[in-house]
Amino acid sequence: MPDQSHVGRRYSAPGQRIAPEAARAMARAIAGDDPVRDGDAVPPTFAAVYCLGPTLAQLFADPEVGIDLAGLIHGEQSFEWPAAVHPGDVIDATAEITGIDTKRGMTFVRLAMEAIRPADQAVVCRATSLMIVRAPA
């Protein structure tokens, strides 16, 4: 189970390419039966793919932290987009565990992520996530 000793642990996912077809697939999935409104733009929450996905995958696979995926809930999420991401960009993403608390049998894991485009050193996304791990039944 995650505990205080894991605060400060960092995960790094360099070289995330913004594949145009993947960004379009997410725009279509978000639009559902509606037309895609802003077709040429990368959807803001595509940060799920270039920032959260590749860093959280490392957290979830980290045997020393030992998160039980069966009891995992995404509790809160924040994103800031200081600069726009464009198809074809290559992004370096990092995440850090910023807090771990246990209350009422649930463990609250807080993370902060940052995504940078090395080509111009622009920060394209800052994010925070709250992941809640329920104790096994």
């Binding site: 993947a22 697939a25 997410m26 279509r28 999935a29 978000i30 639009a31 559902g32 039966d33 509606d34 409104r37 802003d38 733009a41 990368v42 959807p43 803001p44 929450t45 799920a48 793919v49 959260l52 996905g53 995926l69 069966a70 809930i73 995404h74 509790g75 809160e76 999420q77 924040s78 994103f79 800031e80 987009w81 200081p82 726009a84 925070t128």
Partner: protein, 138 residues
Amino acid sequence: MTAPTASEVAIGDSVTPFSRTVTQEQINAYADASGDHNPIHVDPDFARSVGLPGTIAHGLLEMGILADAIAAWAGGNANLLSLSCRFSKPLLPGDTIICTGTVVSVDDAGTATLEVIASSDRGDRVLTNGRATVRLSR
């Protein structure tokens, strides 16, 4: 729809309400697009085995729709500067998500801060504590 300019927006103004019905096909498409194939989103039997009424939408799909709603009002994705929320209640396939927002401040640079929320047509508040900032033209 034309985006409002900063001078046209006042504290207390509403973001144009926006609703979208979310289908299981859409949830499956989001699972593929995001890479999040957690069975609670795509496998009804598994979802029921962990105490859910059935599959549930990804929170980040709901947040993506909320982002779409705000960007539509603000004149495009590039004008959405930040968005945060709590995933309070699940959204189920077949539910309609209803996104609303209120302007709480506008600064001299034309950045508006919004309180935003998403509810389901069953009356559940699915995304709460929502906050967004958008860039408006001047």
